[in-house]
Symmetry: D2
């Protein structure tokens, strides 16, 4: 992982403000736990509502968490009135997910002016085991707001 | 779209049984409305819980719905004791989603013995407008169960 | 397919100028045959040099041709001193390619200010058969040059 | 990177036999230099024929080399009469490639019975610099041959 210097020294606070308003993330129960320049990780206690009909973790939960960590690792490197939207998300589902807790992390690969690349991992943990459920790559486009036009105050 | 002949003449019933137990789909509120050989479509009334912090449709909702329709278009062509798991999901986010209702569909591209390919579209509709939010491609692997081992009875 | 109006009325000439200097395309022998707003198609006579060790079309040829058509369908919609570079390329290999001639086409899905999306198909033809070898999606970023800085005069 | 034990103790020889007949790889000039269980790396001296019209490395060369290394890292773990074909290839183009030599490597992420996942990196080197041009993920499907049906003797 590269050494990144955040543009905004208060990047942690900025990321937390974004997280607070992320409705779908809050709806499924995922929480970001660790925030560093160019990196975030988080977790989700798995319940029945996160599964598909065969009892495995739903691929949509995996993709959602992937999109979230890949976006927020990038947010750590943005300026105060910037945002990102996902351009491309690729999820490789390596193993079916069965377990108690989902853990996910993401690292920025390239911080550009207009486009960022990040990658991520989604794991499922139970007492004695840790399974790599998916590897993910994401491309995101930077949005530049003014103080007024920024939808996240 | 190709003409597909379902292996199981009762494919609609089989798909409905799978859908009933798809917990995460039910949790977010997406419903499959139309089921044909090699094709499904469905919809979701958009609420605040489906959005991200800037007020757009959350990319995780788009990816989840994409995974669901791409999987269930394939289910229409499976045998009674078969299932599929997602191998790869690629989502291209063409436009930000703002609107009242999400509509998604998927078509099977290739029905193999072990691997199926499908593609899908996710739209957001409001009164006077329809926006193509994402195009998706999915690769899925076939699981072969026996009557006993089939997790979906 | 949408109706696109080219920014540059001499888009065909502009695309042909770009094609002339595309060394790797010329090296493998692929030729663009049809150019319309938001669309190109082309072909390649298959020779042993395009195959892998099992006698199938090499996946790299498929990906190369995919990248070319997905890029040039976008070039038809660019201004005189613009260019694009590939951001993401996703290739789904539906069927092994065996045949005499490769045929590929691409259509623009979204023409943005900074980012374009296009999709494509790669077919292999022989006397009596036509096989869909791959479906492709591409994301490309726009480069803005001046008359002087434009590397393609 | 995981520790992999090759099924075939003569995996290096087996991989070299496959490489010898890989026509398109030989046509473009890429050479595999290092072969370990679950890993390969190789290089390509860059010439004008590998470039596009703006003077950058052609995205098709990047994708071709990506497909090759991601396939051959998997070959190191196959049995004597097995092969793989690419199912999905995703290339994220991080930086434009300008330099003297392309260097690429790939690592196996998951060795399944029917499906393998691998990932790779493509770099471009010049005297004083090394640029990460692309990160790649690939899904491949296993082919099982008999001694007689194996196309690579």
């Amino acid at each position: 992982m590269q050494d990144f210097t955040p543009v905004n020294p208060e990047y942690k606070e900025m990321v937390r403000k974004q997280l607070a308003g992320n409705h779908f993330m809050n709806f499924i129960g995922f929480e970001i736990k660790d925030i560093k320049p160019g990196y975030v990780s988080g977790e989700l206690e798995l319940k029945e509502q996160h599964l598909q009909q065969m009892g495995y973790l739903h691929g949509g939960v995996t993709a959602t968490v992937a999109d979230i960590v890949c976006g927020f690792s990038i947010y750590t490197l943005l300026g105060k009135n910037q945002g990102v939207v996902t351009v491309d998300l690729n999820v490789a589902y390596l193993n079916p997910g069965i377990g108690d807790k989902l853990v996910a992390n993401s690292t920025v690969l390239k911080a550009g002016n207009r486009i960022f690349f990040s990658e991520g991992e989604v794991w499922v943990e139970s007492k004695n085991k840790r399974i790599l459920v998916a590897k993910v790559s994401a491309t995101m486009a930077v949005l530049n707001f003014t103080e007024e036009s920024n939808p996240v105050k």
